[in-house]
Structures are given as C-alpha cells and as structure tokens.
C-alpha cells in the first residue's frame, strides 16, 4: 500500500512538473532543438531544475535502503553498445518530429486531442515492436 501511494505521489509530481514547466508544449521542445530557428532555452532550465534534486537523491541512497525495503538499482556497466546509440538516435528523430517524448505524451493526454491519442497508440506500437527489433539489431551488429 505504501509502495502504491509513493508511486502515485511520484507520478503526480512528475505530471505537475511537466505541465508547469511547459514541456507538454511541443513548440517549446522543438524550439530547444531548433538551433537554426527561434531557439528556446527553456528545456535546459527544466533539465537543470530536475537534475539538482535527483543528484542529492542519488547521494542519499548511499548506505541506505529504499523506504519500502529492497535495494536500490545497481549501477549499469558503463558500456556504449549499439542499442543505446541506435535507440537514442531513433528516439531523437521522433522527438524532433512531433516535439513529444513519453512523459509529456502521457501528461498531455487530457488536452492533446485526437492527435495525442494517435501519438500514444503509435508509441505503444513501437514499444511493442522494440524487443524484436532490438534482437534483430543485435544480429546485425554481430555480422558487421
């Protein structure tokens, strides 16, 4: 029960932050990426504002356990594989095209009209196809 409450609280903070910061406005996101047009630095402030509390949160994890028990996520091996790079490039292309990433796509569902639902449906489809596409990518990478 405590786990669910904390999860709801985290989601509520995340959703509020996305709305308040303006990150569900695709013109602001595309404006940040559009260095040859009317550049909008807002996203950098959002990132900075979010990284500061998270930086201290990570420091607080040292020598402790999560409130509900269990353990903190282990540090992944600092490995730069083809999945990380290819996936990030694909994601960046879609992010630039529509100005939406997964968080804001969910947060804006109530005011993004039919287009928002179409984007969500396509995104879920992409997520569904990802495990298979990832395995194909692995095969491609070993053959190169």
């Amino acid at each position: 029960m405590q786990r669910l409450f904390l999860s709801l609280l985290a989601g509520a903070l995340f959703g509020t932050g996305l709305l308040v910061s303006g990150m569900t406005d695709t013109t602001k996101v595309q404006g940040w990426l559009d260095v040859f047009g009317k550049w909008d630095p807002t996203l950098a402030f959002v990132m900075g504002g979010a990284i500061v509390p998270m930086f201290f949160a990570w420091r607080l994890t040292r020598g402790r356990s999560p409130l509900v028990g269990g353990s903190f996520p282990s540090v992944p091996r600092p490995q730069m594989d083809h999945r990380l790079i290819t996936g990030s490039v694909l994601f960046g292309m879609g992010w630039g095209l529509a100005g939406l990433c997964p968080g804001p796509a969910i947060a804006s569902l109530s005011y993004n009209g039919i287009g928002g639902l179409i984007f969500l449906a396509a995104m879920l489809l992409g997520m569904l196809a990802a495990p298979k596409a990832g395995r194909q990518l692995d095969r491609l990478a070993t053959n190169v």
Binding site: R3, L6, S7, L8, A10, G11, A12, F14, G15, G17, L19, S21, G22, D25, T27, K28, L33, D34, G37, D40, T42, F45, M47, G48, A50, I51, P53, M54, S65, P66, L67, P73, V75, P76, P78, I85, T86, S88, V89, F91, M93, G94, W95, G96, L97, G99, L100, C101, P102, I106, A107, S108, S110, N112, I118, F119, L124, G126, M127, G134
Partner: protein, 142 residues
C-alpha cells in the same frame, strides 16, 4: 515569454522531486518509457500496479490543475497525422531499444553521472536537432 525559464526551473524541480520520491521510496528509477514500456511488452507485469498508479498520477494532475490555469494551455502539436504516427513509432521503438528516454537517461541518468545516460542524451538531442533542421529548414515539412 521572459518568465518561461522560471516556470521551467520550478517544473523541473517538481519532476526531480518526483524522481527522488520514486527512488528513495520505492527504489526505482523514474523513467516514463520504462514504466509504460514494461506494461506493453510484459516485462513489467510483476509490478504492474505500481506502474499503473504512477501513470494515473501523471495523467490526473493536469486534469485537476487545468481549471485553475490562467491563459491558454495547449500542446501545439502538428495536425499532420502521418508525421504524428511516424514520430510516435520512432519514440516508442527508440526509447525501448535504448532503454530510456528524457526522464530515465536524461534526468535520472545524468544526475547519477552515468556515462550511458549522458551519451544517450547527447545522441537523442543531436538526432532531434538534425531532424528539426532537415524537416523544417531544408524540406519544410514541419
């Protein structure tokens, strides 16, 4: 507007606070694509309730706050359905292959000084910037 950066900082702080609650409380990394994607491909069905409740919070807060919002609120997303579908597919596919998006790799990864998070963020920002440059200034599609 000149106050945009202040709201950016405030909103960003709330996002970071959400991430801190999820990490210190539940011991989990707050990544939107991972939380949603795990429900889609079945890899996260063992803790589906935690994920669904999180998503409920994300969707519900704007619904609750919108009546009190002054001025207009909108996503100003393109109305070009083909662009929307291609973008959605790329975002879904890419974030799950890379195992993270702006919140997971960006916020949670960079704040942990994770090399993978930093590299992912550099690549998706570069790819996004090139896409905008190409599609807006060269081809004039968006």
């Amino acid at each position: 507007m000149e106050t945009d950066w202040i709201w950016g900082l405030v909103g960003g702080g709330l996002i970071g606070l959400g991430g801190a609650v999820f990490l210190l409380g539940n011991g989990r990394i707050m990544g939107a694509s991972g939380i949603l994607g795990g429900l889609v491909d079945g890899s996260g069905w063992h803790n589906a309730a935690e994920r669904l409740v999180f998503l409920l919070g994300v969707i519900a807060m704007p619904v609750l706050l919108l009546p009190y919002y002054e001025g207009e609120i909108g996503t100003h997303m393109t109305s070009n359905t083909v662009v929307i579908i291609i973008a959605g597919l790329l975002v879904g596919l890419g974030t799950r292959i890379a195992n993270g998006c702006t919140s997971g790799h960006g916020v949670c990864g960079i704040s942990r000084l994770s090399l993978r998070g930093i590299v992912a963020t550099v690549f998706y920002i570069l790819a996004g910037g090139l896409t905008i440059a190409m599609m807006r200034h060269v081809l004039g599609v968006i």
